[in-house]
């Protein structure tokens, strides 16, 4: 009886796991298959489930030698994707580095220090989460124009970084409070300043928290679309999410190239998830704010 129930339970668990796998991965697997299919296979009815001659031609076209595009203002596919990729890497890594540097400081300020106006500043920063995005974005456009930050990578980095501050602060404050302060006090008695104690001792204890906020910030800045769609209009600053979208012409899309570009855009996040799964889950569940 018991073993029969156990078998049933195992069967349910594995069939649900299979459903979960199919749900999460089948669209991605299909886009991958599309990216290595020849054009003839891709446009066959009914679909060719396994490409008859797998080819990396689409990757070659989008990364090395591209053709011109009606959708992309006549720019070649490889120019669009390579430049977008380069911009995305710069924007996402600079944003992440800033977050890594600032997250422990903010957590320390609100988790450890007492100073006048502490609650006021906390809620002033947190209010950014409650403020809906559109009113900010519309007023932001003239602001960015005044600051000469429109269509620059620096502008995008500053924006993306700023919008991560509330989450960082919230998450790291909680994290600092969960770490005991005795060792830090001992270091202070030994003559360390607060900053020295922070960087020599506490930093090691809050490292997992810093990794969580940094990875989540990386994913957010890699994935961002609306902000650069509005604030970037040349290849000088357009990230991959925007240049991929320009691939889609008004009447015509070359889906094998689109698929290859899509695969390129999702590789970095997928790698991050593979390596930092635990930290992402912690970041998502502990600070359930976007």
């Amino acid at each position: 009886m018991i073993s029969k129930r156990k078998t049933l339970q195992t069967a349910i668990i594995y069939s649900l796991s299979l459903i979960l796998l199919l749900w999460s991965l089948s669209p991605i697997i299909w886009i991958f298959i599309s990216s290595i299919s020849s054009r003839a296979d891709l446009y066959s009815v009914p679909p060719q489930w396994f490409p008859s001659n797998p080819t990396l031609k689409a990757y070659n076209t989008v990364l090395v030698e591209g053709e011109g595009f009606r959708g992309g203002g006549g720019q070649s596919a490889s120019t669009l994707i390579r430049t977008g990729l380069f911009n995305s890497i710069i924007i996402a890594s600079c944003t992440t580095l800033l977050v890594m540097a600032v997250a422990p400081l903010l957590g320390y300020v609100f988790g450890r220090l007492r100073f006048p106006g502490r609650n006021f500043f906390f809620y002033l920063i947190l209010a950014l989460i409650a403020l809906p995005g559109w009113p900010i974005i519309i007023g932001l456009f003239p602001m960015m124009a005044t600051l000469k930050l429109l269509d620059t990578k620096l502008g995008l980095i500053l924006l993306l970084f700023t919008y991560r501050i509330p989450f960082e602060m919230w998450f790291m404050t909680g994290y600092f409070r969960s770490v005991p302060s005795e060792i830090e006090e001992a270091a202070r008695i030994d003559g360390c300043t607060r900053l020295e104690a922070l960087y020599k001792i506490i930093i090691h204890m809050v490292k997992p928290g810093i990794i969580s906020v940094s990875i989540i910030s990386f994913l957010h800045s890699w994935n961002t679309f609306l902000i650069p769609l509005i604030m970037a209009y040349t290849l000088q600053s357009k990230p991959l999410t925007v240049t991929i979208t320009e691939f889609v012409g008004q009447y015509f899309v070359q889906w094998e190239l689109m698929s290859a570009a899509t695969v390129i855009a999702i590789i970095p996040p997928v790698i991050m998830v593979g390596i930092f799964q635990k930290y992402i889950i912690k970041g998502l569940s502990a600070g359930a704010i976007k």
Binding site: P27, I138, N223
Partner: protein, 298 residues
């Protein structure tokens, strides 16, 4: 010696806090609060960026125009439909997935990694991906239904309003399920195992244990998840934009607002619309902040 002074000056709690906070607060004000206020001012102005000669205050005209605009009403109805479908699906799928991930079995680590993937990839890119899947001429969705004998010929799925909104909702659900799954899982893992054991000793079956222990403990996080899904769903832009551009049949307030402001250049009217939809969203956020601030004492 001077160096020494700086060192001890900075070691003061107040000084250190303000030195760190001043840059952070300046960024928040420059790119957050001040733009929000300046768009509030725009909302009371005639301000078309393409007609710089005719800029001036017009009182509540923009608000009146938006509130009486049939296109705006239609966009609200669309997002309502989109939200209802999405909420139901997100909660149901996330509940099942979180119950699965709460079990112990071989391969759990892998499954837990894979469940996050749809959340982690760029939403706009997943919009393009699904657009190809639902393509009317060569899409694999058509192919699948065709080979299974469900349809006789390929259909263009994205031409009708209801199917297009359902597909848009599916894409959002696909992205958002991981997040809600993780929220649920966090709570499920905090339920002590021995409660289940003692209930089972008392003769409670699996369904009784689920309704008496599991569901009640998910109530709070469930409410939080509903609010968060509603906020995120209302704000969806990337997926719909990738799937349909700004076509009318899937024009939600966000897409409509984008078109009004950044394509037509009507910053004044767009700002009024942003504040009106923002008011709805702010109510959601306010409820959420109340709920979650109760959880974490500041």
């Amino acid at each position: 010696m001077k160096n020494m002074n700086l060192r001890s000056w900075l070691d003061d709690e107040k000084h250190l806090a303000y030195v760190i906070l001043i840059p952070a607060i300046s960024l928040i004000l420059t790119f957050g609060h001040i733009p929000a206020l300046s768009s509030l001012r725009l909302a009371f102005m005639k301000y078309n960026i393409k007609m710089p000669g005719k800029i001036g205050y017009i009182g509540f005209e923009n608000f009146v125009h938006v509130l009486t605009d049939p296109d705006f009403h239609a966009s609200l109805l669309r997002v309502l439909f989109f939200l209802i479908c999405s909420l139901f699906l997100v909660l149901a799928i996330a509940l099942i997935f979180s119950l699965l991930l709460n079990q112990e079995f071989k391969g759990l680590g892998l499954i837990r990694t894979i469940v996050i993937v749809p959340w982690a990839i760029p939403p706009v890119v997943s919009g393009h991906m699904w657009k190809w899947i639902f393509n009317g001429e060569f899409g694999v969705f058509n192919g699948l239904l065709f080979q299974m004998g469900i349809i006789e010929e390929y259909h263009f799925w994205l031409t009708g309003q209801i199917p297009a909104l359902l597909i848009a909702s599916l894409i959002f659900v696909w992205r958002f399920v991981p997040f809600v799954t993780i929220l649920f899982l966090g709570v499920l893992q905090s339920i002590p195992k021995d409660i289940y054991e003692s209930a089972s000793v008392d003769g409670a079956g699996i369904i009784r244990r689920f309704t008496a222990i599991t569901l009640p403990s998910l109530m709070t996080i469930g409410a939080i998840a509903i609010v968060l899904t509603a906020i995120a769903g209302f704000n969806v832009f990337d997926e719909i934009f990738a799937l349909m551009g700004s076509q009318e049949i899937t024009q939600t307030p966000m897409i409509y607002n984008y078109e009004t402001t950044f394509i037509m250049g009507r910053f004044g009217r767009g700002a009024a619309m942003a504040y009106l939809t923002g008011l709805i969203l702010f109510c959601f956020s306010f409820v959420y902040m109340r709920m979650s601030l109760k959880e974490q004492d500041v």
